[in-house]
């Protein structure tokens, strides 16, 4: 067909990238900065969910760039399961202090101690985060809550909007989402409702790592290969520790591992790795045949709709 031939010729000169084309990282960065600035312009009390995981670290970095040389007009919120990696908690506190940001902490342990939440038989605390998160959002009257969720992570997340409306119980109704057209985000909400905002919606795991490398962003050291005492449960290497592992029949061994995701110790698995630099991590991910959640998250294997069910109830 002649039209095809014409097009191909035109594209040949430039390889599709003219002088005004942005690299994919620049395009994603610009989109995320636009989202942060929209929220700053339209909401009263936004907060960034900050766990010390790589996605929330990239979010914070983007927010810093979006408002420089002024300070970020948001505070930080962490839902601490009580089973978080100490290296990550240390990173969290240091980062909040460095940027002079207010850090709110909602503590799952506190809810368990008060008898409001009960420890699950399997020891997993991930699903327990929803109530402390929701109550903190309500009590602090946060109206926009930035999350680091990406659509490539999981199939229920693939259906998530950039601006995702939540009712007073933080519930997500996937059938009643607002269509998002162009880059015109609709943040209207009633008192008591809030909007979850996902600036990294269009990023992949590889984009996040490439961006970390390009920007020279510091990460908690558990993202890089190190020796650690681990044991196997449900096909994953879990960190041995006070949180409840290993149990009878599970044996501890020392392995060279790193974490691909960082969450609650009870359900975040490590992967065998000798990647100690960012470039080595990127090469490893590019060659990996497993998704990051498939490789490292026990809670998503509970059922086909595990993530959707948690999200409907108000999870991140």
């Amino acid at each position: 067909m002649t039209t095809a031939a014409t097009v191909h010729e035109a594209a040949d000169n430039s390889e599709g990238a003219g002088p005004y084309a942005l690299s994919h990282l620049d395009a994603l960065e610009s989109e995320a900065v636009h989202i942060f600035r929209e929220v700053a312009g339209e909401f009263e009390r936004p907060v960034i969910l900050f766990s010390g995981g790589k996605d929330s670290i990239v979010m914070l970095h983007l927010a810093l760039k979006a408002f420089a040389p002024a300070a970020i007009p948001f505070s930080l919120l962490h839902v601490d399961t009580g089973h978080n990696f100490p290296e990550v908690i240390e990173y969290r506190d240091r980062t909040a202090e460095k940027h002079n940001l207010r850090l709110h902490v909602a503590s799952v342990q506190d809810y368990i101690d008060r008898g409001v939440l009960r420890e699950r038989p399997d020891g997993t605390r991930n699903p327990l985060q929803t109530v402390p998160l929701t109550e903190k959002i309500q009590s602090e009257k946060f109206d926009a809550v930035f999350g680091g969720g990406r659509r490539d992570e999981e199939k229920a997340r693939a259906k998530e909007r950039v601006f995702s409306l939540r009712d007073e119980f933080s519930q997500w109704d996937p059938r009643r989402q607002r269509p998002e057209l162009w880059n015109l985000y609709n943040g209207r909400h009633a008192p008591g409702e809030h909007v979850r905002v996902f600036p990294l919606s269009n990023w992949t795991e590889l984009d996040v790592w490439q961006y970390i490398a390009r920007e020279g962003i510091e990460l908690p050291e558990i993202y890089f290969a190190h020796e650690r005492e681990v044991f196997q449960r449900g096909g994953m290497w879990l960190t041995a520790g006070e949180w409840g592992g290993p149990k009878d029949g599970e044996t501890v061994e020392k392995r060279l591992i790193r974490y691909r995701t960082v969450g609650d110790m009870s359900c975040t698995g490590a992967v065998d790795s000798d990647a100690v630099t960012l470039d080595q991590v990127i090469t490893e991910i590019a060659a990996s045949r497993l998704t990051e959640r498939g490789a490292t998250r026990a809670d998503d294997k509970l059922s086909e709709a595990a993530m959707e069910d948690r999200k409907r109830e108000g999870y991140f």
Binding site: E15, S30, A40, E154, K155, N183, D279
Partner: protein, 444 residues
């Protein structure tokens, strides 16, 4: 895959594209093959799909299960919502908005097309151009998607005959050109057999063009900006008020169209105040020139009153401001849009009160026939509207600028996104289609 270095991986551009078509056209197969052949489906995802397919009694893995992420979608075996998929080749990163063919069809395709640089329209080589194909072409034309690909699929079922492909390509191209689609590329493929999807087909040596993936990898993603109006909607005013930056006052926004340079005379709308650009801050780096779609902070020579919602434009190329908007809209909400409806209109970074003055016509996408004065628009309707806004807006026509010629209408009572709007004429050519029954001119 493992031979790709980190440097190569980060030096790519990004293409946002959308696919349209029903399951019967082989859309899932095509998307599945793209993802599979670009090694974007990982082992655990494939295993999950295989498990789910087996438990449903299906023989082959159903790749639609990869993105039919919602319980309701899997239970009903349909895609409800736009699914976004991400994949990469060494040459480019892709964001695919995969729009379902059944439910809320128009709404979803309009949503997917609104941010797409390219739309893929699939036809079955045995059936050729059908009503649905024309509907897809009309939406791509309305949304001014710069590149349209006609993928003539199932070529294996017509013995890979050039004449079959040529006839379909010709018919479609003629129709789409009439609608004002600026560029059409027709490619003969078999998604099932893999012909011309990633690798050139051994069965169609009469075809000299690129494979489907090659075309996606090389289609231009940037434009000649010298012909574009430069536009910066102000999102936020950055004022550190610190000892280090006592007087810094920057206007932050994402350049919606065109380019700006230091020294340029600019006008702020709707106030009409003027100044000159004294500096451009590109996320911490001072630059002399910046262009769409970079997020920047502009510094101006004069301390003038500018706030969120204003539009900064070159003084020599400022749009007129108006309170009367004529537009084509796609209604996306379940509650109808009626004449007299009081709404909020969001354009760029400004949201103003508005009222729907008139709905002169509704358009049927199948045959592009017009229905005058429908009284209301319901979900998935496309029509013309006249809107009066409470404040003047600096509007471009959508044909000139997709970002500053578009708007959404919001229900002030419950915040629902009601309608997607495009300012100005619906289609690019002034007289795009002759309606045989009604030949007294086409002014849609």
């Amino acid at each position: 895959m493992s031979t790709t270095t980190p440097e190569e991986l980060s030096a790519t551009t990004l293409l946002r594209f959308a696919t349209a078509g029903s399951v019967d056209d082989g859309k899932s197969t095509l998307v599945g093959r793209l993802l599979h052949d670009s090694k974007s489906i990982l082992t655990d995802q494939l295993e999950a799909v295989e498990r789910a397919s087996v438990s449903r009694g299906q023989e082959a893995p159903d790749l639609a299960l990869l993105t039919d992420g919602l319980r309701a979608e899997r239970e009903q075996g349909i895609t409800i919502d736009v699914a976004y998929r991400y994949f990469a080749t060494p040459r480019r990163r892709f964001i695919l908005a995969d729009t379902p063919g059944h439910v809320q069809y128009t709404r979803n395709m309009v949503t997917g097309a609104s941010t797409a640089e390219l739309t893929v329209i699939l036809v079955d080589a045995r059936n050729g151009v059908v009503e649905q194909t024309r509907r897809h072409a009309a939406i791509a034309a309305l949304l001014r998607v710069p590149h349209v690909v006609l993928a003539v699929n199932k070529m294996d079922l017509v013995d890979y005959q050039e004449s079959v492909f040529a006839a379909i390509a010709q018919e479609f191209t003629a129709y789409a050109l009439e609608l004002g689609v600026p560029e059409i590329t027709a490619i003969p493929i078999s998604a099932l057999a893999g012909d011309n999807v990633v690798d050139p087909s051994a069965n169609m040596d009469w075809y000299g063009g690129p494979t489907f993936l090659e075309h996606l990898e090389t289609v231009p993603v940037s434009h000649d900006l010298s012909h574009c109006h430069a536009r910066l909607p102000v999102q936020y005013v950055i004022r550190p008020q610190t000892a280090e930056h006592p007087d810094y006052r920057g206007y932050a926004g994402q350049i919606a169209a065109g380019s700006f340079h230091v020294g340029e005379a600019v006008t702020v709308l709707p106030s009409g105040r003027t100044s000159r650009i004294s500096g451009i801050d590109l996320l911490g780096k001072p630059v002399d020139v910046a262009w769409t779609t970079q997020s920047v902070t502009l510094l101006l020579e004069d301390d003038i009153d500018i706030s969120r919602g204003d539009l900064i434009v070159p003084s020599k190329d400022a749009p007129a401001t108006t309170q009367d908007v004529d537009a084509t809209v796609c209604h996306v909400a379940d509650q109808p849009l009626t004449v007299g409806h009081r709404v909020l209109l969001k354009h760029g970074t400004r949201t103003v009160k508005a009222i729907v003055k008139d709905i002169p016509s509704r358009l049927t996408l199948d045959d592009l026939s017009l229905h005058p004065h429908p009284g209301q628009l319901v979900a998935n309707d496309i029509g013309r509207v006249t809107i009066r806004t409470a404040e003047p807006l600096p509007l471009d026509s959508y044909a000139d600028s997709r970002r500053t010629g578009s708007f959404i209408l919001i229900d002030p009572a419950d915040g629902t996104t009601l309608t997607a709007g495009m300012v100005g004429e619906s289609f690019a050519s002034p007289d795009p289609v002759k309606d045989e029954a009604d030949d007294d001119g086409w002014d849609f």
